[in-house]
């Protein structure tokens, strides 16, 4: 039984990396180059849901499935902001999550980057104007890179994260 199952994963179903997106690469290239060199080609990511509808989380999860296999690029999700280089933040920041997001940012050691994921994180999406939301992620913490989409597909996410990792 176990053999059939292991066979199911062979030949590898993992797909090639998406081609670089020039716009994202250009954006990422402006990030602090020295700091990125220090970290090498490996980044630890801490995901923070600051008010999302959970759609973005579903696609972020998909990055770990065998088709996308995020870890092959040296990118991995960690359980604590204290272990993270990158905060991946989703959602329009809700009033009730503002403080938790600020604290998570403060708990992340530098050098660090913030990636805003999804139309909500970028500009509140359909929740714009709600009295219960503070605003886009950059209203609360400084954002280095934005990946749009509602939700962004795993390929779009991968392209964004690779831009962070690979651009010169």
């Amino acid at each position: 039984m176990l053999r059939t199952l292991l066979q199911g994963l062979r030949p590898p179903v993992t797909e090639p990396a998406p081609p670089a997106d020039p716009e994202l690469s250009a954006l990422a290239a402006q990030l602090d180059i020295a700091a990125r060199r220090r970290l090498g080609r490996s980044l630890s990511i801490r995901e923070v849901d600051a008010g999302s509808c959970n759609g973005c989380e579903l696609e972020i999860h998909a990055l770990n499935n065998p088709f996308y296999d995020l870890e092959r690029f040296g990118l991995r999700f960690v359980a604590s902001p204290r272990h993270a280089d990158v905060l991946l933040v989703t959602g329009p920041v809700s009033r009730n999550m503002r403080q938790a997001l600020e604290r998570t940012y403060a708990a992340t050691p530098g050098p660090k980057w913030v990636v805003a994921v999804g139309d909500c994180a970028a500009g509140c999406g359909v929740f714009a104007g709600s009295p219960a939301c503070v605003g886009a992620v950059d209203k609360v913490v400084p954002v280095d890179l934005t990946i749009r989409g509602c939700p962004p597909t795993p390929m779009q996410l991968l392209r964004g994260l690779l831009a962070l990792l690979l651009s010169p």
Binding site: L2, L5, C53
Partner: protein, 455 residues
């Protein structure tokens, strides 16, 4: 006795199930289900109305939300702490006092270790054993009621589809059906079938994701790898047919926004996925080390599931034989044949088995729908008008309730009730007497929505 008090009495006597209780400024509404779904409304110009939570605990959190959102005052509500609105000092929250010897507390969240939504869990433990869990939610409260009030119908539909992203299709159908009832309109048959198709694809994707994730939380990660691939296949086929992996905004009031020309991706998908899944089920069934973690863990007693009207796999794993597709029922399910699995063990294992059986049913349903799908229009324009409508839809997690009032082509008020409202409280009960380390497993087996609950 007023109609409101009579309804409360029926709930206390167990003659009816609570569907929801919600408010708007100066008015309270209560929906019950017995042989049909009924709404009782009550004017409360001074904001006060007799609490339902006073006699029926399942209503307590909903009434705390009514206080927060609309300034209503349920007379006699046993717990008046804020629920959805945390105010300026979110960390000042009066958790219930705990007394006893040798107890310690473990606070967890709102930011958790995994890629999941935020919420706070406060465990009181005696050694490794949880003696009590208290939840605190509202972190992803986005002001849905306020956003919907006065919104144009199309915009409101897009918001409804984002109450809980994993159930975007189910929410969109619930909202659309409520609007269509309010405007007394019928949608074309093709739209009904396509909605059913999308709903079953959504159920499949989520059940695959859940089964894998539950096994992963019991450290059986090969199931996660395989189930995640099945989930991905379903999402890709959905994108092929409907242009969006989660099918967001594909269901709209008046029909469906996307009419696929080619569903061949689904025709090939179903038999392949069915064969692959059968092998995974054998693996689940035969792995003693996995059963050791899931059997007897996180038990929800059947009386509790019934009293709280818990829907979905949480209710059906604890003997509550309810599925909104069958009763109150709605199209196209009245023309389809499917079983509603029910088990009584109430543990993590039973919740996995309900999902397994429902997955098999949904695969059959997708094929039945594809066979019936015939050409024709897939949407019609909305008439202008006013009215009130309600609907109940079975999402993958359980029954979603939608109520809407339309005034001159705009939403004047609406209410969307996630199944999680009646499931989260049962998780507090299920974890009692289990060890802290089993909490992620129990929690995943519930997989309640934070966003859907926090509105």
């Amino acid at each position: 006795m007023s109609a409101w008090d009579q309804a409360a009495a029926r709930l206390t006597a167990g003659d009816a199930t609570l569907v929801s209780v919600w408010g708007e400024p100066g008015r309270a509404h209560l929906a019950l289900l017995d042989d049909a779904m009924r709404v009782t409304s009550m004017d409360c110009p001074n904001g006060r109305f007799p609490s339902i939570g006073r006699v029926h605990p399942a209503a307590i959190r909903l009434e705390r939300a009514m206080r927060d959102l609309h300034g209503l005052d349920p007379i006699g509500l046993p717990d008046t702490r804020p629920w959805l609105i945390h105010g300026a000092a979110p960390t000042d929250y009066p958790f219930l006092p705990v007394q006893g010897e040798n107890l310690h507390q473990v606070p967890v969240g709102p930011v958790h270790a995994g890629v999941i939504e935020p919420g706070h869990f406060r465990f009181t433990c005696d050694g490794e054993t949880v003696v009590r869990l208290e939840q605190r939610f509202g972190y992803v409260h986005k002001g849905i009621d306020a956003l919907m009030a006065g919104a144009e119908i199309g915009a409101a539909a897009r918001v409804s589809g984002r109450l809980s992203g994993d159930s975007t299709v189910a929410y969109a159908i619930a909202f659309a059906r409520a609007v269509e009832q309010a405007l007394a309109m019928e949608i074309p048959p093709r739209a009904v079938w396509l909605r059913g198709l999308m709903a079953e694809l959504e159920r499949l994707a989520n059940h695959f994701g859940d089964i894998g994730a539950i096994c992963n939380d019991a450290s059986f990660s090969i199931m996660l790898a395989h189930c995640a691939m099945l989930r991905e296949r379903v999402l890709r086929a959905s994108a092929d047919c409907f242009g969006h992996r989660l099918m967001m905004d594909c269901v709209i009031p008046g029909g469906v926004a996307v009419d696929p020309t080619d569903c061949s991706a689904l025709r090939t998908l179903v038999p392949e996925v069915r064969a692959a899944f059968r092998r995974l089920v054998e693996l689940y069934d035969g792995a003693a080390s996995l059963a050791d973690r899931t059997v007897g863990t996180g038990i929800v007693r059947s009386e509790l599931a019934t009293r709280f009207g818990a829907g979905g796999y949480v209710g059906r794993a604890s003997g509550r034989d309810f599925d909104a597709r069958r009763f109150p029922g709605y199209a196209p399910y009245d023309a389809l044949s499917f079983d509603v699995p029910v088990l009584t063990a109430g543990d993590v294992d039973a919740r996995v088995w309900i999902r397994i059986k429902e997955t098999e049913q949904s695969l059959d349903l997708v094929e039945q729908i594809l066979d019936r799908l015939s050409p024709g229009p897939a949407r019609i324009a909305l008439p202008s008008g006013s009215g009130e409508g309600l609907a109940m839809v079975e999402g993958f997690r359980g029954d979603i309730f939608a109520w809407v009032r339309i005034e001159n082509g705009r939403v004047s008020r609406s209410h969307l009730r996630d199944p999680s409202w009646f499931q989260w409280p049962l998780l507090e009960a299920a974890i009692e007497g289990n060890i802290v380390a089993d909490f992620p497993l129990c929690n995943k087996s519930f997989n309640c929505s934070y966003s859907g609950h926090d509105v």
